[in-house]
């Protein structure tokens, strides 16, 4: 029992046939070939599946695709150019295998939108729902601080 839903995806209007039980991360993968949001824990804990729905970060693995109808969905693939956060992640070597990285990038953007100059404590709390088994955490904290500086300077 699929039905067509319309939504905006990274700025473009799109339509997809989705079953009610399909999650957003599945639909992005299967219907749109977008792999930046990826399922790992499947339980809302690791943040690998992070996407933005109407500007707010959600776990794509716990979000029914059908609920995205009419919304604006953004994934890490959205922007054409690297932003301050991505540049900072590269400069601070804030990833190893990279599986968790898109989630961290999206969450860091949200964090900096809310707190342009976050304290270390704010960084740790805001990103505590993102796991990195490679444990690039110290570098991630550094990258977030650097990204904040970069953003303020531009």
């Amino acid at each position: 029992m699929r039905r067509a839903i319309q939504f905006r995806l990274n700025g473009a209007s799109v339509e997809a046939q989705v079953a009610p039980h399909e999650t957003l991360v599945e639909v992005l993968r299967e219907e749109f070939g977008l792999f930046g949001a990826r399922e790992s824990c499947g339980q809302g804990l690791c943040g690998c599946c992070t996407v933005l729905v109407d500007g707010t970060a959600v776990s794509g693995c716990l979000y029914l695709a059908a609920l995205a109808e009419g919304a604006h969905v953004q994934t890490v693939e959205g922007a054409a150019e690297l932003d301050a956060v991505q540049e900072a992640f590269i400069e601070r070597a804030a990833f190893q295998c990279g599986f968790c990285t898109p989630g961290f990038v999206l969450m860091t953007r949200q964090l900096l939108d809310e707190h342009p100059d976050p304290s270390e404590d704010e960084i740790r709390h805001y990103l505590s729902g993102n796991l990195c088994r490679c444990a690039a955490y110290p570098e991630i904290i550094e990258a977030v601080k650097l990204a904040a500086r970069k953003r303020r300077q531009s």
């Binding site: 792999f35 804990l45 070597a93 990103l127 796991l131 490679c134 904290i141």
Partner: protein, 754 residues
């Protein structure tokens, strides 16, 4: 993208080049098997055993087969039509593609449903039922030595390793390897010792949890097979699949893109044999991707028990050491017997001890199989011997650092195997750790309900031998360079390091080198990406290949009567009259090695030694037992780093992972062998809020003379000392000794109130 093909005099090794794949990773575009979908592909979902040990009486797949949308259901019966002896494994041919006749642990794959919609396959799995005649099971590694419950009827060593041959055909035993080492006469020396100390330590079963769960895809024709897999060992996969099918190796192609983490979980055969057989059976591409939950039923880290006994003089010289280690290998041997031997021979620790005896046993039990996990058994051993070391020092009233100094293996001295230490900066690493901890200064031990302590531990590891790496380097007509290696970049940064090594030899910027990902049709043989061997082995092979290419380029220059500094592009233009051609260099690296004799003695046990120490400062909440790490110091001998920044991330990453194994990670089984916490909701791994307040990483100034540009592996080094350093610091804080991991709040609290 920058395209620099100009020659450069800037050194390429020793530079913190950002990872070559950085852009791909921060934009979510890096290729993982996780992303792969092929036309006509079926998804396989696994039906798993619900008993720990039992004979399969009946499997009923009829309801699953009847579900709309199900393509087929496969059990061992179908597997056997293709592979009559469907057993694989690196050390023993003991693991069936799907359970044959018997199941040996809860969660063992018994049947697979195939469907083009994974939800349908999943739904159908719930419709399968199986009946078992339950057999007695054994879970504890020490009990498994004498238990009446026998996991495997007969032992089937793979034949690859000479030291396993004697086990062939043995029955009525769970011992998959009984490694022994004798140096001098430990028993006699123990009798003569002024003081004797004996302790017993345990480690728990834990899981790698790479965030990209295990995944493999196979596509096939009747005479060829391509496997796309998240594997750390593509060459092994090819050999083993070819053996199972009775095919020549060149018909089996194994491709590996980036891995979303490995840590040892993705070694040898995991899902590859299954997808290969499924694809050949149904003539369609097949993908099996495990969920995070299923990973826990696939591969784990050995639980272990270690009895360690030392004879010591009153003034603190260790004169004898007797080690007995039991490794809980779970239901299938995987690489456990290697762990038992290769790590086993370092069980006495990095100390200069005359008389040593080691017995190290690999055991089968009815738990999920255990294999290699970031350290190949070393963290389990260091946990025991460095806790033991502190306990002795404190008993003798000697400062723990001083006690270690007194006994440390110095350069040139023989280790327990008789192999002399070489390029192992044990002293430096110990001294730097003590210095960073400001060991000589008084330390505030806190008061009231918050007590503070500090501790350190040092461990070492012999890199696995005897292993081979090959590489090829192609220099293209425009002067750019392509490296071919089957070394897998699972996050450790090997692509970048290999490119730096090639670039250094070829005097070109690292950015003009690309590294071709493992593809057994294209990239040459490599034993596997494991045990911190790749930077040394593959790195040396790449270096040799690049040198070979340089030699050939120089020959071309000579042949064309060109000056020695003629740019590469000009050489080719002169040779071919246009932009054409390429030069291919080859490198084959296999370091010398001497197999041990029946007493475990050899002059050359390893190509290089890794050395790592950890310093810890912490606080203990005496009312709850909670431990808070305030300072974590990781010091390592990594030789001369190729990429200092990546080295640093390996050090802190490894240490933080081990901190999880130290403080709370634990697979919890009930009395029936059922895992109770198979998900990240119940099996917790460290997050940002668990990070120590301060982390210090240091690579001491050192050189591995046989390594590429003085470098050696680093992927595991920072894990070695973490657990005992924490336990030693807890003891320093509250005077309580813990001998079993993890050191969670309840364990600390109970120990305080015993």
């Amino acid at each position: 993208m920058k395209r620099a093909t100009q020659a450069t005099e800037t050194p390429q090794v020793g530079r913190s080049v950002p990872r070559l794949e950085s852009w791909l990773k921060v934009t979510g575009r890096a290729e993982y098997v996780h992303n792969l979908r092929l036309p006509g592909m079926l998804y396989g979902k696994i039906f798993r055993s619900s008993v720990a040990h039992g004979r399969i009486k009946r499997i009923d797949v009829s309801a699953a087969r009847a579900l709309a949308g199900v393509h087929s259901v496969v059990t061992a019966a179908e597997v056997k039509t293709l592979v009559p002896e469907p057993y694989y494994g690196p050390a023993f041919h003991d693991q069936p593609v799907l359970a044959v006749d018997k199941v040996r642990y809860v969660g063992e794959p018994v049947a697979v449903v195939l469907a083009s919609d994974p939800h349908v396959a999943e739904e159908a799995v719930h419709l399968i039922s199986a009946e078992y005649e339950e057999l007695p099971a054994v879970y504890d590694e020490v009990e498994a030595m004498t238990s009446k419950a026998i996991v495997h009827e007969t032992l089937k060593p793979a034949g690859t390793f000479p030291d396993l041959k004697h086990l062939k055909g043995r029955s009525n035993t769970n011992v998959a390897l009984d490694f022994r080492l004798r140096r001098g006469d430990a028993a006699k020396a123990m009798k003569g010792a002024e003081r004797v100390f004996e302790h017993r330590f345990r480690t728990q079963q834990v899981m790698h949890t790479p965030l990209e769960p295990l995944v493999s895809v196979a596509e096939s024709t009747d005479s060829s097979l391509t496997i796309h897999t998240a594997s750390q060992s593509p060459s092994f996969v090819r050999i083993e699949i070819a053996r199972l099918l009775g095919w020549p190796e060149n018909r089996v192609r194994v491709r590996v893109p980036f891995l979303g983490g490995g840590f040892g979980a993705k070694l040898y055969i995991k899902l590859e044999a299954l997808v290969a057989v499924l694809s050949l059976l149904v003539h369609r591409p097949v993908k099996v991707s495990l969920t995070m939950e299923e990973q826990f039923f696939t591969i784990t880290k050995h639980a272990s028990t270690f009895r360690i006994k030392s004879g010591v003089t009153r003034d603190g010289r260790i004169v004898a050491r007797d080690c007995e280690v039991w490794w809980n290998g779970g239901a299938y041997a995987d690489i456990g017997p290697r762990v038992t031997q290769k790590s086993g021979f370092t069980a006495p620790g990095p100390y200069d001890i005359q008389d040593v005896s080691i017995d190290s046993y690999a055991l089968y039990t009815n738990l999920p199989p255990a294999g290699a996990l970031r350290g190949f058994g070393i963290p389990q051993l260091v946990w025991a011997y460095e806790s033991h070391t502190d306990m002795i020092a404190r008993e003798l009233g000697i400062d723990p650092v001083e006690f270690r100094r007194k006994n440390l293996l110095r350069e040139g001295r023989p280790q327990a195997t008789g192999t002399r230490m070489k390029d192992a900066a044990l002293e430096k690493v110990l001294e730097r750790t003590a210095a960073l901890l400001e060991w000589e200064k008084p330390f505030d031990h806190g008061s009231g309900t918050v007590r503070r302590g500090r501790g350190l531990a040092i461990g070492f590891k012999a890199c696995i031998a005897n292993t081979t790496s090959l590489a090829a380097v192609s220099v293209n007509a425009d002067g750019s360079c392509t490296v071919y290696t089957s070394c897998v970049d699972m996050g450790q940064g090997s692509d970048t390091a290999m490119a730096q090594i090639a670039a250094e030899v070829l005097r070109m910027p690292t950015e003009s080198v690309t590294v071709v990902h493992s593809d057994t049709d294209v990239t040459p043989f490599d034993m596997a990406t494991l045990g911190s061997r790749s930077l040394f082995h593959s790195g040396n092979a790449v270096k040799l290949a690049a040198e070979d290419a340089v030699r050939k380029l120089n020959e071309l220059r000579a042949e064309l009567k060109l000056a020695a500094d003629t740019p590469i592009a000009d050489v080719f233009r002169k040779k071919y009259g246009m932009r054409a051609g390429s030069v291919m260099g080859g490198g084959n690296f296999i370091p010398p090695y001497t197999p041990p004799d029946e007493n475990g003695q050899t002059e050359n046990a390893t190509p290089f030694w890794m050395v790592g120490a950890t310093g810890v400062e912490l606080e203990v909440d005496t009312e709850t037992g909670r431990v808070r790490i305030t300072r974590l110091i990781n010091v390592a001998d990594v030789g001369t780093p190729i990429n200092p920044r990546i080295v640093e991330t390996q050090l802190s990453g490894g240490a933080i992972m081990q901190l999880g194994f130290t403080l709370f990670e634990k697979m919890l089984f009930d009395a029936e062998g059922q895992l109770r916490n198979a998900s990240l909701a119940e099996y917790k791994i460290p997050g940002l809020l668990d990070l120590p307040a301060e982390i210090v990483n240091e690579a001491v100034v050192a050189e591995q003379r046989s390594g590429p540009f003085g470098a050696k592996g680093v992927g595991e080094t920072a894990t070695f000392g973490v657990s005992p350093a924490v336990a030693n610091a807890i003891h320093d804080a509250i005077g309580v000794r813990l001998t079993e991991l993890p050191l969670n709040p309840e364990a600390v609290f109970q120990a305080m109130h015993k």
